[in-house]
Symmetry: D3
Amino acid sequence: MARMDARAQDALRPVEILPHINKFAEGSCLIRWGNTHVLCTASVEERTPPHVPDGEGWVTAEYSMLPRANRERSRRDISKLKLAPRSAEIQRLVGRALRAAVDSRKLGERTITIDCDVLQGDGGTRTASVTGGYVALALACRKLMEEGVLREMPLTTQVAAVSAGIVDDVPLLDLCYEEDSGAMVDLNCVMTREGDLVELQGTGEGRAFTIQEQRQLVDLCAKGIRELLAIQAAVLEGGAL
Amino acid sequence: MARMDARAQDALRPVEILPHINKFAEGSCLIRWGNTHVLCTASVEERTPPHVPDGEGWVTAEYSMLPRANRERSRRDISKLKLAPRSAEIQRLVGRALRAAVDSRKLGERTITIDCDVLQGDGGTRTASVTGGYVALALACRKLMEEGVLREMPLTTQVAAVSAGIVDDVPLLDLCYEEDSGAMVDLNCVMTREGDLVELQGTGEGRAFTIQEQRQLVDLCAKGIRELLAIQAAVLEGGAL
Amino acid sequence: MARMDARAQDALRPVEILPHINKFAEGSCLIRWGNTHVLCTASVEERTPPHVPDGEGWVTAEYSMLPRANRERSRRDISKLKLAPRSAEIQRLVGRALRAAVDSRKLGERTITIDCDVLQGDGGTRTASVTGGYVALALACRKLMEEGVLREMPLTTQVAAVSAGIVDDVPLLDLCYEEDSGAMVDLNCVMTREGDLVELQGTGEGRAFTIQEQRQLVDLCAKGIRELLAIQAAVLEGGAL
Amino acid sequence: MARMDARAQDALRPVEILPHINKFAEGSCLIRWGNTHVLCTASVEERTPPHVPDGEGWVTAEYSMLPRANRERSRRDISKLKLAPRSAEIQRLVGRALRAAVDSRKLGERTITIDCDVLQGDGGTRTASVTGGYVALALACRKLMEEGVLREMPLTTQVAAVSAGIVDDVPLLDLCYEEDSGAMVDLNCVMTREGDLVELQGTGEGRAFTIQEQRQLVDLCAKGIRELLAIQAAVLEGGAL
Amino acid sequence: MARMDARAQDALRPVEILPHINKFAEGSCLIRWGNTHVLCTASVEERTPPHVPDGEGWVTAEYSMLPRANRERSRRDISKLKLAPRSAEIQRLVGRALRAAVDSRKLGERTITIDCDVLQGDGGTRTASVTGGYVALALACRKLMEEGVLREMPLTTQVAAVSAGIVDDVPLLDLCYEEDSGAMVDLNCVMTREGDLVELQGTGEGRAFTIQEQRQLVDLCAKGIRELLAIQAAVLEGGAL
Amino acid sequence: MARMDARAQDALRPVEILPHINKFAEGSCLIRWGNTHVLCTASVEERTPPHVPDGEGWVTAEYSMLPRANRERSRRDISKLKLAPRSAEIQRLVGRALRAAVDSRKLGERTITIDCDVLQGDGGTRTASVTGGYVALALACRKLMEEGVLREMPLTTQVAAVSAGIVDDVPLLDLCYEEDSGAMVDLNCVMTREGDLVELQGTGEGRAFTIQEQRQLVDLCAKGIRELLAIQAAVLEGGAL
């Protein structure tokens, strides 16, 4: 089965990360992943929400799509007075994924908020948000180190994310929007540079899937994530840590 | 490692499903799963939301916790004017899980809404909602068949859900609240009676986890789900189909 | 005129109060009053809202119906971003009724919130909420006494509530849903065990009513409340005070 | 006991109703009742809400206080994104009271909305809203008759409302704000010109009250309402019917 | 071109300002400007919002129309859960205009909120709100001076506002609603008694307008504002300062 | 007085308009105006809001800032459940400005929504939104012409916008954020290519301003707008019409 854009079954779309895209944010990048474009900024605030223990920091994420990020214009959340449930789900995922890369004690009593705003969406916006969000986070941490605000680097590992799916019974890495629309199964992973899992979400949208298929999809994701970690590292000039 | 309640590592808590708990709903049950109690009702309405193709039906779910379902009272969503993001995430999961068991064409142009209201929560409320929600759904479908509203049974399979986690590096099936609070990794599965996956969500809350560990957790869940499917079938007097 | 369920005109439906229904709440019960089922929990918090004078406590109530408590499913408040006005009115009534039974100085600077969640509604949910809510409140007060948090019992009396109505010009005690739907007049009372009124609300829905009729309805309620006070006392093993 | 303003115990404050206060509304008045000033407008719309049977009309009310109607400025509902629960309760009362005076079939498929906006509040705003709202409603009905929109007068009776309370164990008619603040019991009635009750709400705020006291308060209200009906009739030049 | 009400092209509608219209507010007036009636109250609170520097005060405004202020009834903001965008815009304008007349240091750490509630609207409600709002503000400042709360008068100048428009290519002062509906251009000014501009907003609704026309409209407004300043001064008995 | 960036008093910051920045929108551009970056998309929908007369079209705008567009992160509107009042005001301005350039009958019964999302803000975001919004609108109109959806070009003129202000008593064109923060007076204009005014808003933030100053500021804006119209025309390859 040939893919729409003639990619191999285990190939990523072209991924480009432009760091320092925002003049004000402590860390930022624009990640262009095929036709999916996500602007990621990291904002540091010197306070933490009430549920965070004294002496620790907090990393959180917000996710939103611009109204015309998609093929059809969608109404803004504020005009519906309701955060889109899909956005609520995704920003919780991104937050958990990035917290897995941070030692909250080394961060100290401050919050880093990663805003992931999808300027254009063509599938894979949540994994682009994790992957770009990590770069924004790392740049912010580095800046806090350079300014002497932090004495120890709070990052403990590097994380990236990708999805894989089953289309016409064929496992494929990194589905674009059209592939995703016709996928029977969709699974995404967040992994560390050690190759361990941080998050794993799989859904049988068209049919259930076997445990064997699930394993294949995780293996495909692992391959993609290795490549994404390298792209991040190049942008971060040899790694964030 | 001994568990709090002396269960084996691969043992479920006691699960009891009381069907027909609500006089008005087309299908209903109260699922008591350890100290987690969820009231599930299935409500049939003769219309579908706009995004559903003509000639097809829709199954959706809503999830909410009563204010004092937990150790501490929490404020109602309406007093915050905001659906709890965790509830938004869970009800999307329950809806996807149950739709995987239904042929939407056989359901016809009607909506079945599964309301999952947690009267008391002690861990595992989302998997209890899927497992009890399926029973409510099956009872509603059976009622529609008996009344002649439906000619063909829209259920295509049976689904149930359970979670497993890693506590002190030991994989355990079906964590209660205290175990869950201290878990390093938490993974939940929805599976069909054919043993295939419908949903899979894993999170490394305390640490990342290896692909090998992920496989062990899925295997634990598969064992638990086989038992849950049998409990559902007994309540449904030999199966819903 | 024979009633639907062959009750005498001045007879209550069967009322059953199951105490300690919730493992976490300081006080709780499930009140089953005919086919009306309300879960009442009392939650203690060690702070009071701003309007409460220093040194005093506060008792408040929240009321909500589960979506399928009724013959037809209703949308949740949160999906309309609006507390149902009827719920707003009822929870204000329940709060006032229960505060009438409490010495706020003896309660000390703490809040007891009575959550009344209607699992199934067949008429009389507001009076069931007052009557069950009192039991949950009394159990919570007793627990605070037993734990030594309170030195003096803050309850000063016992309260219960019932409604009466005029159907086909006949005064009837404790209308069920079908009777209520056809009632011309509906009146509910909250009374103390001394036989005094705490709240009284009467509405001519189908026609106005004479002062004479109003007095008859209050007398009917007084009879019903005496029976309800006895049921509460039995559950509380001889009374809450 | 002398009252603040030297009124007799069964005397109303001075009440003045200025009709036609709004140039655009189908009916309107400003009711000045002591220092309580409520602007009442009746707006006719040629459609009804979904719950109204075909061929029938609907009368509804909305109630709001201007931010500085009171001794202290209060925030607007919109800044809290929440209708004040007290307003929700009052507008339901006003709506029920006015519907009791209307034959919905004679009104035809149209809605009359009575807006009661409190410009200045000094106690008794809900009863002023009912009493003034009736005048606005009657003027609107008369206008619809004069314009030939209606063939039969939909008003079937005349309604007015007043409250009475117990202050220092003395029953008093028509409490002003200071009296109301110190009242032990507060009871309000809506009655027809036939002397029958449409609504009755009594609350023991400081203590419970006996059935005998309740009867006294209703009798006081009945006296006050007879005077209010005469004031309305004078404004309506001999009655609205 | 003759105007609807036979006014000269540079003539205001009759303007009347009734001070002390509200018993509770620190300052208040009802401004009747043709058929536009706006109730303005000034409320003093002894605190300021967070963005105000220490030692300074704050003046802000809120604007709202009663539902039946207009030819057609409009829904209340709260029923739409949204402040009308037009109201948001107007209250920002009124606040800026009145702050221009106040020395925030002399006001001290307190907030004066000017509530402008339109009882009836016939064009020009925003300029009536500024003009009446100034009177309410001045009366409140005078009261604070008389009570010794303030030692120095915080008012530094006097402000009033009016609009002008182009109808059928003719520049006209102070458009009423019908004129405004057909206007090609609408421009409003806030000016001080020194004749300087504080706010200027012009919109080409039907067509663009030349710089020359813009100057003519400002000149018309300047004439009207001189008359309004005299009306304010008369009400304030020789000026507020 | 030397400006921060050594610009002449009547010089614009560098302005660059990148068209076709969004793959899905009917028209789009990114306008980079100094350090202010606004993404403008035009979305066509084949329906109009209820208030639009039959046979006519509608152009509207929405404006929002990304959370980290500014020096400090701001909370998203949805987390406050409230459209920022400043955004409400700006999007009304942008909508009016762009409608002034369109013949609504030639547009036919369709809506073009211009979304202006500020990626980075350094002063002048509203005028950048008008100026970039016009380009997105023109590109969308051209596309509708090319596709044969429209037979006649609905654009009737070209519009652009700029602001000018008074800093230390010196009139300056096109204030950046730091200049704007210290400005005494701020005035913005929308003008057509014929040199006529569509919108004009001036505010004395630090002091009132004379009519003479107002004229100077409009003249400065007129100069800037001529340059902006040329930049737009170059992007649109000789003009949109």
